[in-house]
Symmetry: C2
Subunit: 106 residues, 2 copies
């Protein structure tokens, strides 16, 4: 199993519409990816590591897929539409990375 | 449910011992946290978002807990020992953040 991960770095005065992300954007992405998306998770930033520190990220998501190939195949035809929706919920510059799930809910 | 998340930013020439992290460090952390740790996940960086880009992170983990309070209570007595083990598997500077799980395996 691999994951397509997106982190949204928090900026002072930046915006992130958590309701839109949860209710519109991510369901749209999952619908477009179809069965290639095994499941997805959404996290909302609460705090940083140091006491009283703000969260370094507004939010993050991870989309689980069987393989990098199945992810890329499912994503390619929809990447443009998915990216076009981003300004509807944030002005953050997303950081994307692909990972191998080494331990899943140990 | 909340998560304690750690990201290990990748550096050129930096080191990360994935076997040690999976087999020694994270089981030790889970053992110390006891029942406060509901489960944890480990991800290993495979690639970045752009074609051919290296992963921005060596690895990441997320530790799921019932609340920030239960996490802090369980972590406090062991934070020093946990931090002291980090140089045994990496020279990366970990980024820590705490998140609320908004959608869990949708």
């Amino acid at each position: 199993m691999i994951q397509f991960n997106v982190l949204y770095p928090r900026t002072e005065g930046g915006r992130f519409d958590h309701a839109y992300y949860r209710d519109k954007h991510m369901p749209m992405v999952a619908q477009k990816l179809g069965s290639a998306c095994r499941y997805y998770t959404i996290d909302k930033g609460l705090a940083g590591g140091a006491p009283g520190a703000p969260p370094p990220y507004f939010a993050a998501c991870s989309i689980a897929c069987d393989s990098v190939e199945s992810l890329q195949q499912a994503m390619a035809p929809h990447a443009k539409a998915i990216k076009a929706d981003v300004p509807n919920y944030t002005d953050a510059q997303p950081v994307v990375w692909i990972s191998e799930v080494v331990v899943q809910r140990s």
